[in-house]
Symmetry: C2
Subunit: 381 residues, 2 copies
C-alpha cells in the first residue's frame, strides 16, 4: 500500500486521565472509518485506513493533547474532505478541540496558496517595506453616495487599503454594483489629487453564483482586491473563488469563524493561507475579543513563515477588532513590518476629526517604520 507521509493532527481532549487512551482511539476511528475497532474489515485495517494514535500528553489535570495520524489519501486531496477528516463528526463532541495539523507535502502540493501574498500586495500598494494601513467603510444603512464620500476621504488621507465593512452585502440601501462603482470613482478622484491610488476592496456575499457575478462586477470596475468570509460562504467556495479571481488579491474575513472549537492559528492562519488568502483578518489581542497575544503571534507566524515542504507564498496578517491610533506603535513592534494594520471604528468621528485621525494613522505607520529602519523590526512570528 501507499507509504506517503501521513496527515498528523493535534487535538485537545478534556477527560479524566484513565479515559484518555480510549477517547483518543475513539477520535482516530471516528475521523476515519467511523466503525468500532472490532467491525473494521481486515483489508481496510491492513491498508492503514484507520487513524492511529501517535501520542497522548497530559497538559493539565483533565486535559490531554493527542496527536493522531491519518492516511493522507483519506482526504481525497481536496479541502472539503480535508476539513471533514480534521474535525467533521468530532466537532460534535464538546470536549474536543482541534489545535493544529501537520499537512504533508503530498497534500500541500495540490493547493496553490496565495496568488499574490505579501510580495504581490506590496507591489500593488507600492510600499516595499513598511506595514500597510487599512480601514473599513461603514455602517450598513449608509447610501452608496455616503460610503463613496467616506472612501474618498480615507483615500485622500493616504490609507493603503479601504475595504467594505463585512456587513455590507447587497442590501436595498446600498446595492453592490452601485456601491462598487461610486467607491471606485472616489478612489480615482483622490488619486488624481494625491498621485497615489488606494486599493478599494468590496465585500462579496452570497451563494457561489452570486459570488461569481459580484466578482465580475468588481473586476470590471477595477477594484484592488476582494474580501469575503470563508466560514460564511464555505471554505471550499473561498478556494474556488480564489482561482476564479485570477489577477485580484483575496482577503479573508473571520466572520462566523470564531464559533469553532478550532484554534484560530490553524483556521485563520494555516488553512486560510492554504486555500489562497493573500491577507487574513483576525481579532487582535487586547481588543473587544478574547484572543491571546500568544495565539495572535502563532497565527501571524502560520500566515507568513516559510512553509516546510511547499512553495506557498506568505500571506499578510491583518490584526483588527477595536484597534486605536494609540496602539499603532505597540502593534508594529509586536507583528513586525509584514503586517496590515486595520483600524476602522477607531477612525470614525464627526466632522473633520475623521480626516485628522486618518492622516495621523498613515503618518504614525510611516514614521514608526522610518524610525525603526535603523533598528530593524523584529519579525518574530
Amino acid at each position: 500500500m501507499n507509504h506517503s507521509a501521513p496527515l498528523r493532527v493535534l487535538y485537545r481532549i478534556t477527560c479524566p486521565p484513565a479515559e484518555a487512551e480510549a477517547r483518543a482511539l475513539g477520535i482516530a476511528l471516528e475521523q476515519s472509518v467511523e466503525l468500532p475497532a472490532e467491525a473494521i474489515p481486515p483489508a481496510v485495517e491492513e491498508a492503514g485506513i484507520p487513524g492511529q494514535v501517535e501520542s497522548i500528553r497530559a497538559t493539565g489535570e483533565n486535559e490531554h493533547e493527542v496527536c493522531i495520524r491519518y492516511r493522507v489519501e483519506n482526504t481525497g486531496f481536496e479541502i472539503t474532505q480535508l476539513l471533514n477528516v480534521l474535525f467533521g463528526n468530532t466537532s460534535l463532541q464538546q470536549s474536543v478541540s482541534l489545535l493544529d495539523a501537520d499537512l504533508p507535502p503530498g497534500l500541500l502540493s495540490v493547493f496553490p496558496g496565495p496568488a499574490f501574498g505579501i510580495p504581490g500586495l506590496r507591489r500593488l500598494v507600492g510600499a516595499p517595506e513598511r506595514p500597510l494601513t487599512c480601514t473599513a467603510l461603514k455602517p450598513m444603512g449608509s447610501s452608496p453616495q455616503d460610503l463613496a464620500e467616506l472612501c474618498g476621504r480615507f483615500a485622500r488621507a493616504g490609507i493603503d487599503i479601504i475595504k467594505d465593512d463585512h456587513g455590507l452585502a447587497n442590501q436595498v440601501y446600498a446595492p453592490f454594483a452601485e456601491r462598487v462603482r461610486l467607491c471606485m470613482d472616489a478612489v480615482e478622484e483622490a488619486a488624481q489629487k494625491t498621485g497615489r491610488r488606494s486599493l478599494y476592496v468590496p465585500n462579496l456575499s452570497g451563494g457561489p453564483s452570486r459570488l461569481c457575478a459580484q466578482l465580475e462586477i468588481a473586476r470590471a470596475a477595477g477594484v484592488g482586491a476582494v474580501m469575503f468570509s470563508p466560514m460564511l460562504v464555505g471554505v471550499p467556495v473561498f478556494a474556488e473563488i480564489v482561482q476564479a479571481a485570477g489577477g485580484l488579491p483575496v482577503i479573508a474575513h473571520p466572520a462566523l469563524a470564531g464559533a469553532q472549537r478550532i484554534s484560530a492559528s490553524l483556521l485563520l492562519g494555516r488553512l486560510y493561507r492554504l486555500i489562497g488568502a493573500d491577507a487574513s483578518i483576525f481579532v487582535n489581542f487586547g481588543g473587544r475579543f478574547g484572543f491571546s497575544a500568544e495565539e495572535c503571534r502563532r497565527l501571524a507566524g502560520n500566515l507568513r513563515q516559510p512553509w516546510a515542504g511547499a512553495e506557498i507564498k506568505p500571506a499578510f496578517p491583518v490584526p483588527a477588532g477595536g484597534m486605536t491610533l494609540e496602539r499603532v506603535g505597540e502593534m508594529v513592534r509586536f507583528y513586525g513590518r509584514d503586517t496590515i494594520l486595520l483600524i476602522s471604528g477607531g477612525l470614525y468621528a464627526p466632522g473633520d476629526e475623521l480626516d485628522r485621525r486618518s492622516r495621523d494613522f498613515v503618518a504614525a505607520v510611516r514614521n514608526f517604520a522610518e524610525i525603526s529602519s535603523t533598528a530593524p523590526l523584529r519579525d518574530e512570528a
Copy 2:
C-alpha cells in the same frame, strides 16, 4: 422608512449582571453598524439600522438571555448575510452563544424550503405512515465493489435509505463515479428480487464546481437522493445546490456543525430546513455525543412543525450517532412516526450477522409502527 417585521434573535451571554446591559448593546451594534453608539450617523440611526436590545433575562448567576431586534433589510434577504447578521463577528466572542432566531415572513418568503420534505420522501420510499429506516455504507478505504456488495445486502434486507458514510468523498480507493454506478446496480438487482427499491444516497464533497459535477453523475445514475454537509461545503452552497438538484431530495449531514456555539435546534433544525434540507441528520441523545433529549426534541420540532408565516414543508429528523437495534422502540416513542431512524455502525458485524441485524431493524420499525397504530404515536415535537 420600512416598518416590516424585524428579525428577532436570542443570544446567551455569560457575564456579571452589572455588565449585561452593556454587553447586550454591544452585540446589537456589532451585528449591525459595527460602530460605537456615538459614531453612528443620525440618518442611519433614524432609519432603525442599529440592532435594538428588546429584552434581557437572567437565567443563571452570570448567565443572561438577550433578545435583539434587527431590521430585516440588513440581511440582504440571502442566507450568507443572514448568517452574518445572526452571528458573524459575535461568533468570535467566546462568552456569547446563538440560541434561536425568529425569522419574519418577509424573510421567510425568499426561501423555498424543502422541495420534497416529509410527504415527498414518504412517496419516494412508498411508506405513507411508519418511521423510515436508514443505514450507511462504510468504512472509507473499502473498494467500490465492497461498498456495492454491502449496499445490496442492506437493500435485500429492506432498509429504506442506504447512504454513503459522510467520509466517502472521491478518494483514490473508491472514486465517486464508480461507487455510485456499482451501488445503483446493487440496489437495482435487489429490487428485482424483493420487488421494493431502496434509495441509494451518495455523499457529495468538494467546491461548488465539483459538487455540481457529482450531482450530475448522481442524477444520471438515478440515485434516490444526495447528501452533504452544509458546514463543510458552505451553508449558502447547500442552498444553491438544493435548487440545482431539482427532482432529487437532499439530506443534510451535521459534519463540522457541532463546533459552533450555535444551538443545534437552530442550525440543524430551523436553518437547514429553511435552506431546503428534506431530512437533517443529527446526533441523538444517549449516544456517543453530548446532545440532550430536550435539544433533540426542539430540533425535531423545528424541522417538522408548521412554520408560522410561511409555506415551508416539514423535513424529516434523522437521529443518529451510535444508535443500536435495542433503542428502536425508545426512539420511535420519543420522535414519533415522522422520523428516519439511522443505524449504521450498530448493524456492522462479521458474516451473516449484518444481514440478520438489518432484517431485525426493518422488522422492529414495522412491528412497532403496526402495534402503535391502534394507540397512535405521539408526535410530540
